[in-house]
Amino acid sequence: MMARPRLSPARLLLLGALLLFALFFLAPLYVMLSASLKSMDEIRNSSLLALPASPSLQAWATAWSAACTGTDCGGLKPFFLNSLLMVLPAVGISTALGALNGYVLSKWRFRGSELLFALMLFGVFMPMQVVLLPMSQVLGWLGLASSVWGLILVHVLAGIPSTTLFFRNYYAGLPDELIKAATLDGASFWQIFRRIVLPLSAPILVVTLIWQFTNIWNDFLYGVVFSGADSKPITVGLNNLANTSSSVKEYNVDMAAAMIAGLPTLLVYALAGKYFVRGLTAGAVKG
């Protein structure tokens, strides 16, 4: 380990640059938060960067339960609940299926399984626009159009390629001898999965759960295409709220709404950022 360099002018310049970048990244969050705590009068008469003179949660309350999204003025609350109802099952199912697939594709390879994996992997990359039209047909046939269940199905299908990729790459790192020894002892496919592989999966499980949660919570495309009046997720709610044209634009309510929509994923990031970063880097395909 090298000793920490002394504070030279070059070093100060370096720190200055890093802090400036930090300000650039933090500024929008600060502006959002401070605007959400101001009244509209204060927003008109004070600077963008000024601290709120008398912070109030009024805009948050309006955004949560009274702001208008289109013609309907019930705030973001119903959208938030829709998102929860959609995210929890979709994350659970896509993660469980990904774990099983990854287990098979890394420890029970068969002729052609690598090819199948490559075919599946393309699903991580393809532009989703290409599945939208047929998917809305199929959801109609299944009687799932405009329902939360339809959205769950879409998110599970769209999530399987990445969850499979995560688990496959992680399980590939577990020694094959472990599996062989267990097979010789007479352990079956399921016993090995339950007793050996699953107990070793905690890190990748956390990574995948966080990754899926963030992605599905933040999704807008499927939400706007496949949801109906009663199943719109929070991102669609926020977008409708912020784009509702009313005579007076209430920016404080818009910002509070944006904070509400962003808080769950920000919270997860603050608590488990390390795992989120691991998911991001794993998503960058290391074959």
Binding site: L18, F21, M32, P127, V130, L133, F189, F220, L221
Partner: protein, 292 residues
């Protein structure tokens, strides 16, 4: 015992089968169906008559499509280049044994945890000509300052670029930083012993050895660019007019609000062909490399 051996042979395939069938249909079946729809005269409802390449002819005659394609060029080019440059710079700066590294990394990367809709809503307010940045700079004493990019058809696309870079630069930083940490220290030490200066070491040794990271990052970022939809919807909704349309928003508008399913399917097919032209060779080389 034999029954078990038999079970172990078919069980893995059986476990894989349901999701495999589902995702094969989801990916390849739907691609085929969209491809076919693009050859039909479908309007509000799918119509399975065959109409040849009429939709593609219409598409290529449409100004709006070319605007969307040109916007993707501007947005994609700038977004990719600047994100890579800023991300690499941040990674190198952070790699200088900074005491606050953990905190700074967290700050640079948090936008990636946010939805593009949240980002778009925030930047729409910051960039709006009335009360946002313009107002702030005027208050600082530059009364003539005006900043109306967001409502200027020629400049609005650059607002999308700014918000996109803000969201993704930290992500690029994380990828490069992981790459930098993977470089063998002894090469750098040897160069230092030989008297090479730090910038020279970075330029001649470290950055060239980041080549594989550079390529996978480029893949991920260009993929983000082509898929960009939410950010435009939240920031400009494609406007003013259709000045900030991207192929993704074009497809959505045609297929789901204009009742032009055939045209939407044709634009989706072109998007897919573009992505496949980049991704398939990449996946092929990655998987071949892994087998070696």
């Amino acid at each position: 015992m034999r029954a078990r051996a038999l079970a172990d042979r078919w069980l893995p395939k059986l476990v894989l089968a349901p999701t495999l069938v589902a995702s094969t249909v989801f990916v390849y079946g739907f691609i085929a169906l969209t491809g076919y729809l693009s050859l039909t005269p479908s309007r509000l409802m799918p119509n399975f008559e065959f109409a040849g390449l009429a939709n593609y002819r219409d598409l290529f005659d449409l100004d709006r499509w070319w605007t969307a394609a040109a916007n993707l060029g501007i947005f994609g080019g700038l977004f990719i280049a600047v994100s890579l440059a800023v991300g690499l710079l941040l990674a190198i700066l952070l790699d200088q044994k900074i005491r606050l590294e953990g905190l700074l990394r967290t700050i640079y990367l948090y936008p990636m945890a946010l939805s593009f809709i949240v980002t778009g809503t925030a930047w729409k307010w910051i960039l709006n000509p009335g009360l946002g940045l313009e107002h702030l700079v005027q208050e600082w004493g530059f009364a003539d300052f005006s900043f109306g990019w967001l409502v200027d058809p020629d400049m609005a696309i650059y607002c999308v670029v700014i918000a996109g870079i803000w969201q993704s630069a930290g992500f690029v930083m994380a990828l490069f930083l992981a790459g930098l940490r993977g470089i063998d220290d002894s090469i750098i030490k040897a160069a230092q012993v030989d008297g090479a200066s730090l910038p020279r070491i970075y330029w001649r040794i470290i950055i060239p050895s980041l080549r594989p990271v550079f390529f996978s990052t480029l893949m991920v970022v260009s993929h983000l660019a082509i898929k960009s939809f939410d950010l435009v919807m939240a920031l400009t909704a494609g406007g003013p007019g259709y000045a900030t349309d991207l192929p993704a928003t074009f497809m959505y508008t045609m297929a789901f609000s204009r009742g032009q399913i055939g045209l939407g399917a044709a634009s989706a097919t072109i998007m897919l062909a573009t992505v496949a032209a980049i991704v398939v060779p990449y996946l092929y080389s990655e998987l071949r490399g892994a087998r070696r």
